[in-house]
Symmetry: C2
Amino acid sequence: MAELVFVGLGLNDEKGITLKGLEETQSADDVFMETYTSRMPDFSIERFETLCGRKIQMLTRSNLEEENGKLILQAAKGGKTVFLVPGDPFIATTHITLRIDAEKQGIPTRIVHGISIMSAIISLSGLHNYKFGKTVTVPFSDNSSETPYNVISQNQKIGLHTLCLLDLRQTENRYLSIKDALWQLLDVEKKKQQNVITAGTPVVGVARAGSSDPALRAGFVKDVVNFDFGEPPFSLIIPGNLHFMEIDALLAFAGAPLEFRSLVR
Amino acid sequence: MAELVFVGLGLNDEKGITLKGLEETQSADDVFMETYTSRMPDFSIERFETLCGRKIQMLTRSNLEEENGKLILQAAKGGKTVFLVPGDPFIATTHITLRIDAEKQGIPTRIVHGISIMSAIISLSGLHNYKFGKTVTVPFSDNSSETPYNVISQNQKIGLHTLCLLDLRQTENRYLSIKDALWQLLDVEKKKQQNVITAGTPVVGVARAGSSDPALRAGFVKDVVNFDFGEPPFSLIIPGNLHFMEIDALLAFAGAPLEFRSLVR
């Protein structure tokens, strides 16, 4: 029976998938997978193929998005097809078009959710999920933009936290560091002078969210900019108004300095 | 070795957990679980105990939060203790205090993430994750408040989508319906007249996100208010500015009327 099931692989390694996701994979006629929309540092395709007892067809970014889509739709017309995607299948927007195309061609689609990196970062931080505003990606400095600064400013004005994902080019093994992201933001501050991000702004740096070895550091920009977070990938949270319970969490989990106590709003 | 591992159960049933989460549970000295912070409609404790080969100690809301915490910390001092929580352990704020207490008492903590309901709703909708602003819960009408209206208004002003979680009291089997939530918002509109939510406002209703049988309906308030979503739980998205790809997704997955095409911003 024609069917396309999008299955989230979750984070980090082959054990990030849910039992439901594994079952769907085991019972599929065809299984495709991509690992180019997100990084799964400890994932082994061999171990995963053993786990699910299936041969996986790997898709690369070098295949055009369109060609990958055609391959998958062709298979899905003939039987149950699983498409494995890092994180959650639709938290990144890349595969929404494929799902629309499938539905337009009369192929029923289903989703088996996976853990998204955004959800993991927020959960790790101890900050309250419902208090996050718009999310933004900080690009590499050669594509530097004022957008992240403006989004942070907009969120700050209404007291909300900003999750900043830091750019990465996995194939080139390039990852924007927390230090470089902060310097970019400070550069925009120098120009715009809106007091959005200065040496004394509280921030939270996060490395390797979702792995077995995450790192978290809360502090003022002047200190966090010099903190060694170790291996990538990285992200950054610029808090808005902080509740005392959020500050307690930053003190307990993220090495925040005691001065954070005075930030309660 | 003293250790407290928070493990997310994910959504819906006992197969919402990740392979990593299952492994941690299997290798724990003590296993606790709560199901009062979120609903897992098809979860069977018997099937889950068989799956992980372990006896689970269920905690109820009727135990005081504090007593539950004491039980868990006591166990964690003596060996590896797993605390199973619906969804992701820290997307709801309930258990952050327990983690802080553990760290203060020198008990190392770790997190094995689970899929959160918020992540599942956003992923299902086809709307772009980074364009969501602050999240809000719509209470039952006996606790009716202007807060949801104000949060939607604030997000709308800067073009962002609002995720509205609809209140539930699981023990009483009471769930706020999409219809009632919309009527509450329309009542506030009548009073405040800010044109935030009217009969012609586009909205997306979602039922049973994360289950094998989710329902999604996009349309104008006047139509969605009468749509039969079936079984709970429910949520509601009030879109901000819509990208044409988001509209395509709402047309393909959520039965949006063709008039939605004219909403492109």
